[in-house]
Amino acid sequence: MNILVLLKMVPDVVEELEVAPDGKSLDTEFLRLIPNEPDDHALEEALLLKERLGGKVTVLAPDAAEVDEALFTALAKGADRALKLSGADASSNTAGLALAIRQAIAATPDLQGVDLILTGTQANDDLDTLLAPVLAQLMGVPFVGIVTSVVPDAGRRMVTVQKECPKGVRAEFEMPMPAVLGIQAAEKPPRYVPVAKVRAAMKSLKIEAVEAGEPLPALPIEVIAMDKPVVSERAEMLEGSPEEVAGKVCEILTARGLL
């Protein structure tokens, strides 16, 4: 099983986000990037599949601040190879990033025979979950998102996946490999890797560089303005004994026709 995992760095929302002076982007001075959490689940699922079925896990991430640490962490967890994609600005251009990844896969001999491409279903700068489907479309391979279970059948070159649907319903799909999957949750929580192991990976392992082929096409959409949320009236705090507060809650719900 030859698996490619796509990782990327996204703004860390623990830090205060500020709008840049241009009024339409995030101020990079105070911005800190963090590995996209759903991508950790994609990596975990890939590592579990490798442990079960053998094979190789390659991680690929567009160049960004602190991305080396994320890639070395993936190597320390058990990934076999780490690729850093330069020339692709991941922020706010998901379609462009998908194209750059498509080009990098075509230009990297080992990746042409990849069986599965896993990535987090979404990212906080890609809530529309576009990366995986656009990449699948460009590659002409199947895609399913919000996946919680992946069972490949290497002999038949087929993969069975479960997708979470509303109201607790799960859908099962079977499709030929290669396929692109947006992972919602790995079978178990992403593993912890001791800091000493990451440090050791930094000393003994290498990150390979890959280039996005052609310059990315201009975005067909443009960000016109970016604003922080406007603070509206504050929440009303209900005071009094538990009985009084419960009474007030009932009054409010009744007044709004909810009871």
Binding site: V14, E16, K188, P189, Y192, P194, V195, A196, V198
Partner: protein, 402 residues
């Protein structure tokens, strides 16, 4: 056990299990008489497949790997009870248990989620809560007294006050920070804080599972200390005190480090006249494991409490060397959910039952981990109307009010 001189030996303590028997501590391990006092005194000894006594037996017979894949070490709250009671002077909590925890972390298929998150947060943000490191000094705005921040006003200072995570970020912990600032100011001490430059000292990193994390934090904090000129470090966090006294010396740290209670006792003559208001409380004091059993700081907190007019100090059944751990050390702060799912009694609840039994109305603490532990336990047990938890600095500050 002479805690005060132990650091020189700590500095040469073994860093891995492989060379353990070539060291002084390894020689002691060979002298273990398998009496089982460690297992008997351990607050969670009954929950462990491999309590310390069995661990040593397996270590000596070359079967120690068995322990790595069990969850026994998850139940070690680094309370120093086994080490304090060992008739052979084996330094379990200082040496063997951390080495075993490190191996457990490397071999366990899955870490409890809360503990994993706390370790990741401490690595990324320098605090286990996962708060932005740029907000560490925010509490200063609410201090009510002037506090010098070294990065803004460098230059020599007598006392570097290492505030630590729970006092900087946790809402009740900030009350300790404010009270401490007030008392320091009233005494006219020359002190300063590191503001946003401070990061967790990392005690729970070394003692809890993660030497890589601990070393990263030591490297960071040592570089910060080197930037400034000061005579002593003072901290209200017994875990930071432990780290500075017992672990940092291996990395070249030579600063004199004091707990806030030790510092204040040194200034007792000037402190006493400031304690004007009578506080008619029946107070019992909970000995923090790191302060008490590990660093022999038993008297200072009690001296301060007795200096407050009106305070009646009563002792719980288990006090000083025999105090029961709050359950927060060694990673226990982030294992409550895990213990709950296993059906273990929370140690903080065991402690609160003792405190309520002797009729105290204030549980005094001197460790910033303990607000969350004991205030939660009071609520869980339904005793929150009968008793409150107060840091000693809070009681001092209250007594200073006109």
């Amino acid at each position: 056990m002479n805690a005060a001189t132990a650091w020189t030996e700590i500095a040469s303590c073994p860093s891995s299990l492989e060379n353990l028997f070539d060291t002084e501590e390894g020689r002691r391990l060979r002298t273990c008489i398998q009496c089982g006092t460690c297992a008997g005194t351990c607050p969670y000894g009954d929950t462990m497949d491999y309590p310390p006594r069995r661990m040593i037996a397996l270590l000596r017979s070359g079967q120690i790997e068995k322990v790595f894949t069990s969850d026994s070490l998850l139940n070690c709250v680094a309370c120093y009870a086994c080490m304090a009671k060992c008739p052979r002077g084996i330094r379990l909590t200082d040496v063997l248990l951390p080495l075993m925890k490190e191996q457990t972390l490397a071999h366990m298929p899955e870490l409890p989620a809360e503990l994993q998150k706390a370790l990741q947060n401490t690595m990324r943000y320098g605090n286990p809560m996962g708060e932005s490191s740029r907000k560490r000094a925010l509490w200063l705005k609410t201090a009510g007294v002037p506090i010098r921040v070294l990065p803004e006003q460098p230059g020599p200072v007598d006392l570097l006050w290492f505030v630590e995570c729970y006092s900087a970020f946790y809402a009740r912990g900030q009350d300790i920070a404010r009270a401490t600032a007030k008392v320091f100011n009233a005494l006219g001490l020359d002190f300063a804080v590191l503001g946003n430059e401070e990061k967790c000292a990392g005690e729970c990193g070394r003692l809890t599972w993660e030497p890589g994390l601990y070393e990263t934090l030591i490297d960071y904090n040592m570089a910060i200390f080197a930037k400034y000129s000061f005579n002593h470090i003072v901290t209200g966090c017994p875990h930071a005190l432990n780290a500075f006294r017992l672990r940092y010396p291996s990395y070249g740290f030579r600063y004199d480090t004091l707990h806030v209670t030790e510092l204040l006792v040194r200034h007792l003559d000037r402190l006493k006249p400031l304690l004007k208001r009578k506080l008619n409380y029946t107070v019992t004091y909970h000995d923090s494991c790191c302060l008490g059993r590990r660093n022999s700081i038993f008297d200072e907190p009690r001296i301060l409490l007795k200096a407050i007019p009106g305070v009646k100090l009563v002792e719980m059944t288990h006090h000083r060397e025999n105090a029961i751990c709050c359950g927060g050390g060694g990673g226990g702060m982030w294992l409550d959910t895990y213990y709950k799912t296993k059906g273990y009694e929370r140690l903080s609840e065991r402690r609160i039952k003792e405190a309520v039994e002797i009729g105290a109305d204030v549980l005094a603490i001197a460790c910033d981990y303990e607000f969350s532990r004991f205030e939660d336990a009071l609520k869980v047990l339904g005793h929150d109307k009968r008793m409150v938890v107060r840091d000693i600095t809070e009681l001092l500050a209250e007594s200073m009010e006109a």
